[in-house]
Structures are given as structure tokens and as C-alpha cells.
Subunit: 431 residues, 2 copies
């Protein structure tokens, strides 16, 4: 079936709803190079303003999903489960929950992403481990998932190529922040993993794309709806990102925090508990336990017993990494509190951008990353602080980054005189 | 000065207002090929939804105007005046008012357009005259305007090249129907003519882009505002297009109607009176008379005396045309009234598309045009009609077009049992 592209753009522009055939035409003809990017860009902007209903979003997801390969893990008898986070600062839960769920006997075929803008990326964190490789053939990915129950891979050209093309276009045309486009992009890639169940971590707050819990709930509901329509079991966490997760941000620094936790540290309680809760829901959705409570107890047991650490070491070794050689930054600096009081607010997005200044992240997909760069956050929301006490430690191999970063970080936190109660980490869980 | 294109798109997307430098960057970098069309398309769609304020629209007009050559007629001592219509069906007033105003002693350097979609174009009408050429150098255009007071030319690559590029992009990205974009496109081209004054004919109704008088007034006010800011004297007519202008549509057929009127016929009263009124305002704005009434009397005198016809023949001859050889269609057909009553409504846009089916217009800029094809409208709104009486006569050199066109035309008019009063042709004039 053929359509006039300008007519379809006009239809969406004027608030109309597309048929599945129309969406298929737009996406696949663009992927083939028959429908120019300028028409796709105009359509994407019309979608930004007019939105898409549930049927359209579902159709868009399926068209992007089937623009490439869908992985088939049917030869692995256990349930395949994964987690997706909408992006945060200091969020390293994947590196903890992946080993826990794999150690529980499920399979986690995790196709992960890189950091862009203020949010970090699982692949960058793993690549800070010397030798760790996230590039492999689909066959090798299969083998590693089958053998270890867990493998981390980057998106390949075969998986959702239409999404890859359109995402790149959205990035340069200010059409990223559209619910249906976000939903279809996330869910097409996750469905391409061939999973049975998915746990979503939709973040809101000063460090997240969604600024309010209500927006995060709307996005979570839309994502869950697509998963339900595709016959997958989906649970969605709505979690607060008004402060970084844990104490470390930056790639090797976050791997260090993960290792602390797996070695029994209770210092980074938010990272630890969120990882355990997410792992529990994955284990429950993978039918390993009869209740979420039982799954939570199993997760804790796997972590405390050291089985999570051993699984992580096993997977890292299988992907060529050497945890004993984690790199460290040459230079450090600190930002101190100008007064006594209580930590009452962070500009978490700006803290994320500070990490980019230090070299830990990227503004453009082609920017290089310094694996050692990043921040330690000494105080979390609600904690008391003395005048002159450290709030941040800065790490970088490039000393010249410190002046600008320090200046920025000084504007990224607030101290109140009266005690402040930090927001709950998990706002709600949609089951 | 340099900007990040995606930031500028986002600014407009979120309802911000651009500085002149930002607009200059977007338009000129796109014209140079440095800013890709997909970013321009996304920005155009954002403008469609968010609009532009008067300052932005004025800046866009000036940037497009100065992207090319501005004609300089300062060596011609009389005032240079022109008219622009937003597009209608059967609107051939330019061919009458041009000669009248030139005969009154003013200069009319008319850069005209071709028909696209349901609206006709002055250039297509003139080119139905065998030998008539609208292509010439700027020097030749100058010479003819100086010698005859009137010349019709097509847009050249040197005039508003940025507008030309962006208009082509708007055409295929459903971003034509945006007030500020329409305003800047129209006014940049008219200001490039180097005129002193302009009369606008902003049409509304079933055959116009603007469906209501109120929308047409808004557009007229925005156009007039740009003209005022550029130091030009501008009057704007708001005219009704709920029915075609005059009785003939199609290129050579419209030239015939023009010749009837210039030869003294009072049969096509709407075409005649609108041409005289528009000419009168042009003459008044060109300071030839002290009042509009005086200018109206002068126009009428020029038309009735035959001076308009002689000026038209002179200009046509100067541009190589031979009015004695106007081509005629080989085939005719008719659509008759199924009942007795009064003409109470036309779908004028659909009548315009019927002309395209017959070969008189084009859907795409590259489509060829049959100069002989078109329609005669036998009855105007409010006129009584007998059952079986002709409503339309179809003309074409391609008989195969008749069946589909007749079927369409049968749905393009309504007959009421009770008398119907046609809307006034000129709704108002903004001075």
C-alpha cells in the first residue's frame, strides 16, 4: 500500500490518528531511504505536538521491532527477564541486579545503552573495566546468556534499525521528549531481546527526564500497556531522582560502588535496596518464586552470600574484563559546604552535567569518555553537614576541568537550617 | 554568530521567540546547505504549532528578502505599485488591473506565480497566449517596465532564493498553512520587486486557503504590518471566494473573459468591479489621485475608453504574445442542474480541482498544463436555474477527463428551493 507522505504528515498535524499501514509506510519507507528525513522530521514534530493514541504507539513499536531481528532464546528453558531504566545519575543497579537474577537461575539478555547528556550508561560503566567487551555476534551473545544466565551487549545494527535511524533524527530535531516516541523506542528494543518479562524503572525528579511523579506514572502506564499488548509481563517502578543514586558517579567509580555492595557494604543503602527490589520483581515475573516477598528474600540471600559477586566476576571474565585493574583518576579536588545545616536539595541534572565536564560523560554520541572521571557525593538529602565539610570529591585525569566543575557544583546543592526529610526512593510500583 | 540548530528548534517548539540573529542563522545556513533540511522541516512544523510574533515574522521576511537580489527601479520616476492575491479560482484580476494602472501612468513590476493545487496562476494564464514569454533577464524586465509601465515576469533564482527553497520544503512537509510563514513568503517576494505600495487581495471562503473572513482579516493585518514596517503603503481587500470569480476558469478561457471585459462586456460583473476597485487603490497609493473615489473613476474611464485594452495588447506584444491566436479546446461537455431552484452553494475548492482533472492546473509543480482546458460557470450564487439547465461547460483536449470531472462537479453545487442572497464580494478593505 502506498500513501502520500505530505498527506500523512498533515493528518497527524491536524490531530488525526494513523492506521497501522500508515505508520508502517512512514517508518519502513524512511528506513529504506524512500521517504526523506525532512518529511520524517516534520512528522516527528507533529507527533510531538499531537501525540499518539495507544493503538498508534503499539503499532509504531511493532513496526520498529520488526524492522530488524528479534532474538530467539526459546532454546533456553528458563524465563528471560530484563530491566530498563529511563535514565538517572549514578544509577548502577543493572550491574547488581543482573548477577542476582542470573544467580537465581533466570536468563538476563541485557542489551544496554551508552550515556548521553546528564545520564550515565551501563555500557560505559562496564567498559571502564579493562578488557571488557560489549561487542559480539548474536551467536556469542546467545552462548554467553545460555552459559552464565547474563550477558551485556550493545545495540547492533540488526536490532530495530528503524528505531536507530529515527532516534538519531530525533536527537537533532528536538523531538526526543515525546511520550509515544519514547515508549516505542524503549519497548521495541526491549521486545527485540526476546524476553518474557520486563521490570521498568521510570525515574522522576531533578535528575530525570520526567520532572514529576505524575508524568513518570503516565509514561510507565504507556510503556506497560505496550508490553501487555505484546503479551509480556511488565512491572513498573516509579522512583525518585531528586538526588544521585548511591555515592559515586562516573564509570569506574560506579563499578567500585557496585563491588563495595557486593562485598557486603551497607554504606550505599539506596543503590543496594533499589537493586534488590528490582531484582525481586524480575525473579517473581520469571516465575522463580510464588510471591514478591519470597523473591526479595532470595535476592538478599544471593547478595549477602557472595553469590552475586561471584556471578558478576564470572560474567565480567567471560566478556574479557579484569576487575583487579580498575583505573583510578590522577587528580582529585573537593567542594565543601559553606555552612552548617541539612542537605535539602540537589540539582541532579546539573550534577550529571558536571560529570560530563570532568570527562565522565558525553554531550554528543561521538565524544570520548574518561573511565576514571566522576564524582563522589559525600552527603545525601536530609543528612546533617558541618561548615567546611566535603560535599563533593571530583575525580579526573584532566586537572583543567576542576575550576569550571567546582563553580557549577557549588550551585548544585542547598543547605537548610532546619532538618529536611528526603523523599522516598520508590514512589510506587505498578503491577 | 553560531547557534546549535537543535536548541533553536527546541526553543520554538517550547513556545519561545527567536531573535533576528537566530532566524538569520536558521534561514541562511539552510540556504547555504549547512543546516540540513530535516532540521529546517522540524523547525517549520514547530512554527506551524507555535506561530511567530510580529517581530519574528518581520525578521523572517527581511532575512528571506535579503537572501537574494532586491530590484531597484529608482531610475523610474513614477511610483511602483503591485497587487498580490492569496489565491482563488477564476481570479484573473491581475490581467485587467495591471493594464489599467499602467495606463494611468504608474509602473507595475509584476513578478507573478504559477498555479498549484486548486488555485490558478497568472503566469499560466499569460502563457496560454501563443508566444507570450515570462522569462527574461532582470535588465529586460527593467526595460519593459520603464517603457510600458507593466511587465509580467516569473520568479527568478536571484529573487528570495531562501524563500524558494523553504517553500518547496513546506510543500512536502505539510507546513504551508502557517500565518507567519505565509506572510514572510508573500511579503519577501513583493518587497524584492522594489515597489512603493501594494494592494493585497486576501480571499476567504470555500475556494480559498482561509475559510473564514475572520481568518482572512488576521492574515491581512499580519501582511499589512510587515509592509508598514518596511515603509511601504499597503491596503488590504478581504474578498469572498465562496464561488469562482467571473464565469471562466482555465488559462486561455480566463484570458478570453479578460478580453470580453476590456472590450466593454458587463457580463462578468464581479471580475470587472473587483479589478476596478483593486486598480483604484493601486492608483491612489501611487499618488496619482487625491482620493480613492477619484482613482475609481479614473480606472473606469481607462477601461471604458479602451485604453486598458490597448495597454494590454501593447504589453502582450512586447512580451511576444499573439492574442489573435488564443487556443481553443477540442472537446466540450456539460453538467446540468437536476432541479429547479436557486444556486445556493459551491464547493469552490473542488471546482478548482475539477480544473486540474481537465488538465488546466497542476497537483505538482512539474505537471504540464493544457492551456485550453477549463470550465465555464453558467450560474452564479443566488441566480435562478431551471431543471436541465447548464451549470458547467467543461473544456479539454482530452475527452477521457470528462467522466470523472462531471462526477465531481455534480457534487460541487447546491440548489435551494427558496431564493438565496449571494455574499458580498468585498467584505472589507483595510486601509
Amino acid at each position: 500500500m502506498s500513501f502520500l507522505p505530505a498527506e500523512l504528515i498533515k493528518k497527524k498535524r491536524d490531530g488525526g490518528h494513523h492506521t497501522r499501514e500508515e505508520i508502517e509506510f512512514l517508518i519502513l519507507e524512511n528506513a529504506k531511504g524512500n521517504l526523506p528525513d525532512y518529511q520524517m522530521a516534520a512528522w516527528l514534530m507533529a507527533v510531538f505536538f499531537r501525540g499518539m493514541n495507544a493503538d498508534e504507539t503499539h503499532a509504531l513499536t511493532e513496526v520498529m521491532l520488526h524492522s530488524g531481528q528479534v532474538l530467539d532464546f526459546s532454546n533456553i528453558s528458563v524465563a528471560k527477564v530484563d530491566k530498563h531504566s529511563t535514565g538517572g545519575v549514578g544509577d548502577k543497579t543493572s550491574l547488581i541486579l543482573g548477577p542476582i537474577v542470573a544467580a537465581a537461575g533466570l536468563a538476563v539478555p541485557m542489551i544496554a545503552g551508552r550515556g548521553l547528556g546528564h545520564t550515565g550508561g551501563t555500557l560505559d560503566k562496564l567498559e571502564s573495566i579493562p578488557g571488557f567487551s560489549i561487542r559480539m555476534s548474536e551467536t556469542r551473545f546467545h552462548e554467553l546468556v545460555a552459559k552464565h544466565g547474563l550477558c551485556f551487549m550493545g545495540q547492533t545494527d540488526q536490532i530495530c534499525p528503524a528505531d536507530k535511524k529515527i532516534y538519531a533524527l530525533r536527537d537533532v530535531t528536538a523531538t526526543i521528549e515525546s511520550f509515544p516516541l519514547i515508549c516505542a523506542s524503549i519497548m521495541s528494543k526491549k521486545l527485540a531481546e526476546g524476553i518474557d518479562a520486563l521490570v521498568l524503572d521510570v525515574k522522576y525528579g531533578s535528575g530525570a527526564f520526567m520532572k514529576t511523579a505524575s508524568m513518570a506514572c503516565d509514561l510507565a502506564a504507556a510503556l506497560k500497556d505496550i508490553g501487555d499488548k505484546a503479551g509480556k509481563r511488565v512491572h513498573a517502578f516509579i522512583t525518585n531522582m531528586d538526588q544521585p543514586t548511591g555515592h559515586f558517579m562516573g564509570n569506574a567509580l560506579e563499578v567500585q560502588e557496585v563491588l563495595h555492595i557486593m562485598n557486603g557494604s551497607r554504606e550505599h543503602e539506596d543503590t543496594r535496596s533499589l537493586s534488590l527490589d528490582l531484582a525481586a520483581h524480575m525473579i517473581f515475573l520469571g516465575n522463580k518464586t510464588k510471591s514478591i516477598e519470597e523473591a526479595r528474600a532470595l535476592s538478599e540471600e544471593i547478595l549477602v552470600s557472595g553469590r552475586a559477586l561471584r556471578k558478576f566476576e564470572e560474567v565480567v571474565a567471560a566478556q574479557g574484563g579484569d576487575l583487579s585493574q580498575l583505573p583510578k583518576a590522577q587528580f582529585q579536588s573537593t567542594v565543601k559546604s559553606p555552612q552548617k545545616g541539612y542537605l535539602s536539595a540537589f540539582n541532579t541534572e546539573s550534577i550529571g552535567y558536571s560529570c560530563i565536564l570532568l570527562g565522565a560523560g558525553r554531550l554528543h554520541t561521538s565524544d570520548p569518555v574518561d573511565p576514571t572521571a566522576g564524582l563522589k557525593l559525600h552527603k545525601k538529602l536530609g543528612e546533617p553537614v558541618e561548615s567546611g565539610e566535603n560535599i563533593f570529591t571530583l575525580y579526573s585525569n584532566n586537572k583543567n576541568t576542576f575550576a569550571e566543575t567546582e563553580a557549577r557544583l557549588k550551585t548544585c546543592f542547598q543547605i537548610s537550617e532546619s532538618p529536611f526529610v528526603a523523599p522516598t526512593l520508590i514512589d510506587r510500583i505498578m503491577i
